[in-house]
């Protein structure tokens, strides 16, 4: 497999950044990594994952959809879309890589969301295999192998070298474009590292999490479970879980009057918010119970019902560590599962 030694990684970054925009996770504060646009000298984070997911690259928190000029009774619509520039996201973990295929199922299904597709077409995703999973990880429950991430290019590290494996046409092209910096390497030590990681995965506290009790065919029995009341009682109704979640994709469309015209933008929204489904004549989800239930039913039942059984969760563990009251999908699954 082609590789580059760890001490030359930044040379590679500089090379990529000279051709297109490069984003890498960097440590902002200890244990709070976030993606930043690469600038010379930036150090790749050693944290397991970023606080926010990588979905921003394709589905940003806010983006403008159109502009309107209103004059008297007349309205003029301005299409403000622009072709995105090429960019590379380096260091995406296996869970987040899978989240893109989940988002694709929403945004690339007919009618295709051109805003999302534009960025997806121009982005190259370079994933990185995990070596130090945290106690909050449960990606294996959703059939993800963190030692073999998806993406356009998968990168593996044995501590000394970074190995590059192309997974798509786009990835192949990318590796070709930097192949002069890479050399053939021996993967025997790498295999040992991967094997060790797999061993750790089996020992994780959430390794035994089962998904058998969930899926599209469990619609009414799960919806009508009496346990939602107890599960939702502590929920604050904030959007933390939604906003750090790599697969949450609900959005709102709003208008802003800039004084120079109307700007229509979309922004992330959360089904946990009280006004998510509020209409002029009432709200079908009146209490936090219904809103809470919606979020987890969506991930564990509705999404699989519409997408051949694929769950809307990738087990990244962000909601486990970020929820202000530590209520999360794992607790929901463990409470609702049929033992």
């Amino acid at each position: 497999m082609l590789k580059i030694s760890a001490d030359r990684l930044n040379d590679l970054f500089n090379r990529i950044a000279s051709e297109q925009t490069l984003y890498i996770p960097v440590d902002h504060e200890p244990n709070t990594a976030e993606y930043r646009k690469y600038e010379d000298g930036m150090k790749l984070s050693e944290s397991l994952n970023t606080v926010r997911s990588a979905k921003d690259f394709f589905f940003p928190q806010t983006e403008n959809l159109a502009e309107f000029k209103v004059e008297g009774k007349n309205i003029e619509v301005k299409d403000i879309r622009e072709e995105s520039g090429d960019f590379v996201v380096f260091g995406v973990r296996a869970c987040d890589a899978r989240s893109f295929s989940i988002l694709d199922k929403v945004f690339l299904s007919e009618p295709v969301d051109s805003f999302y597709k534009n960025r997806r077409d121009h982005g190259t995703i370079i994933t990185m295999a995990c070596t130090r999973p945290a106690e909050t990880c449960f990606c294996t429950a959703f059939g993800i192998d963190p030692t073999t991430p998806e993406g356009d290019v998968a990168v593996f590290s044995d501590g000394k070298d970074y190995f590059f494996l192309d997974c798509t046409e786009k990835g192949k092209k990318f590796i070709e474009s930097v192949s002069d910096m890479l050399e053939d390497g021996d993967t025997s030590e790498l295999e040992a590292v991967r094997e060790k990681t797999r061993g750790i995965m089996k020992k994780l506290p959430l390794a035994g999490l089962k998904t058998d009790s969930f899926g599209g065919d469990k619609l009414n029995e799960l919806f009508n479970s009496p346990k939602w009341a107890e599960l939702s009682e502590s929920c604050l109704g904030c959007g933390t879980c939604t906003f750090v979640c790599p697969t949450c994709q609900c959005y709102d469309i709003r208008d802003f009057n800039t004084g120079n015209g109307i700007r229509r933008f979309r922004c992330w929204d959360s089904c946990m918010y009280s006004d998510f489904t509020k209409m002029a004549h009432g709200n079908p989800r009146i209490s936090q119970l219904e809103r809470f239930r919606q979020r987890f039913m969506h991930k564990l039942v509705y999404f699989p019902a519409n997408n051949d059984g694929e769950f809307g969760c990738v087990g990244c563990g962000r909601c486990l560590s970020r929820c202000p009251v530590s209520m999360n999908i794992v607790k929901v699954m463990k409470t609702l599962e049929v033992k």
């Binding site: 606080v51 928190q61 806010t62 106690e135 506290p205 904030c238 933390t240 709003r254 992330w268 530590s326």
Partner: protein
């Protein structure tokens, strides 16, 4: 401590004094405790937890819980009793429907501070003579207890309970912490430095509303930021102005009512030091209008609902510190 609490709660359930108990529930890991309501001794025995990680302030839940049938038992730490008192004062909690047991406070631990040391795969955390022994998937780690103390506990303002029906453990004293140190440090910066500091912090905001929804002072039925008629309702900050707007207005709306419980900064997923905004208001109020601690009692007039004919003029802002 936990044993005594469970025992007393079970007694009060059994003799009919209360029909529910508000406490914390054990989670998946050693640190992830969730506020919960218990109704039977059995549940208490199995799931109730009160340890170094039960940081969450339970007062706000009592706004709803005290409006339900019957009396509820709530375990409140000293800092939580201030929030409780403030909510009683504002007629948000119905005092008669709550049986408060005061329990000793922290210092509580913040798992994020442990993780910040690079410790991951945490399986257990033991406190051995103020050294934390942390078992992880990658071996045993140790760190000093005080380095893992949560932000809100490290500047604890009081170990005294200001509202309770009974106490478990001893009551403490009001402390004189150095809680305004960081505010002061910022005040002594230049305006440009302060601006840069806050832009750096507030630009991290993802508008998840966790700070608002956890805040015991934010109990409006319909928040101005959710009300389409307010003209400033927003879901996401589409411009940096809106980040400023949200946090300034939120801090202002709780000024004089914020008890400095520190929940806002605890829950922020982006680690923004939001409590500094509230502390700035508290410090200003103390300096300009006399010492005031929200929640210390249920009768005093809130500083923003009060005035004196000889109050200082706003120009005082221009006369202090560095421009």
């Amino acid at each position: 401590m936990q044993e005594a609490m469970i025992k007393r709660a079970a007694q009060l359930l059994a003799d009919g004094t209360v029909n529910r108990v508000m406490g914390w529930k054990r989670g998946e890991f050693v640190y992830d405790t969730t506020p919960a309501v218990f109704t039977t001794a059995d549940e208490l025995e199995k799931e109730f937890v009160c340890d170094d990680f039960t940081q969450a302030n339970l007062s706000k839940y009592l706004v709803k819980e005290s409006r339900k049938e019957g009396k509820i038992l709530a375990f409140l730490k000293p800092c939580d009793t201030y929030s409780f008192n403030q909510l009683v004062k504002e007629h948000r909690i119905i005092r008669e429907n709550v049986y408060v047991i005061g329990i000793p406070g922290g210092p509580k631990l913040d798992i994020e501070k442990i993780k910040a040391k690079g410790i991951t795969g945490i399986l257990s955390v033991e406190n051995e003579n103020y050294t934390l022994k942390i078992e992880t998937l990658y071996g045993t780690e140790t760190m000093p207890f005080y380095e893992a103390v949560s932000g809100k506990c490290s500047s604890c303002k009081s170990r005294k309970h200001v509202a309770y029906d009974e106490l478990i453990g001893e009551d403490g004293e009001v402390l004189e912490p150095n809680r305004f140190d960081m505010v002061e440090k910022l005040e002594n910066m230049t305006s440009q430095e302060r601006y840069d500091f806050w832009r750096g912090e507030l630009s991290k905001c993802i508008r998840c509303n966790a700070c608002r929804n956890v805040c015991p002072a934010c109990t409006c039925e319909n928040c101005v930021f959710d009300n389409p008629k307010s003209g400033i309702d927003q879901k996401a900050a589409a411009d940096s102005f809106e980040e400023n707007m949200f946090h300034i207005i939120r801090a202002f709306h709780v000024a004089g009512r914020c008890t400095d419980c520190g929940e806002c900064s605890r829950v922020c997923p982006q680690n923004i030091p939001l409590h500094l905004l509230n502390r700035k208001f508290i410090k200003d109020i103390n300096e300009l209008y006399g010492e005031y601690q929200a929640g210390a009692d249920t009768t005093s007039k809130a500083p923003l609902n009060d005035y004196r004919a000889d109050d200082c003029e706003p120009s005082v802002v221009h006369e202090r510190g560095v421009e």
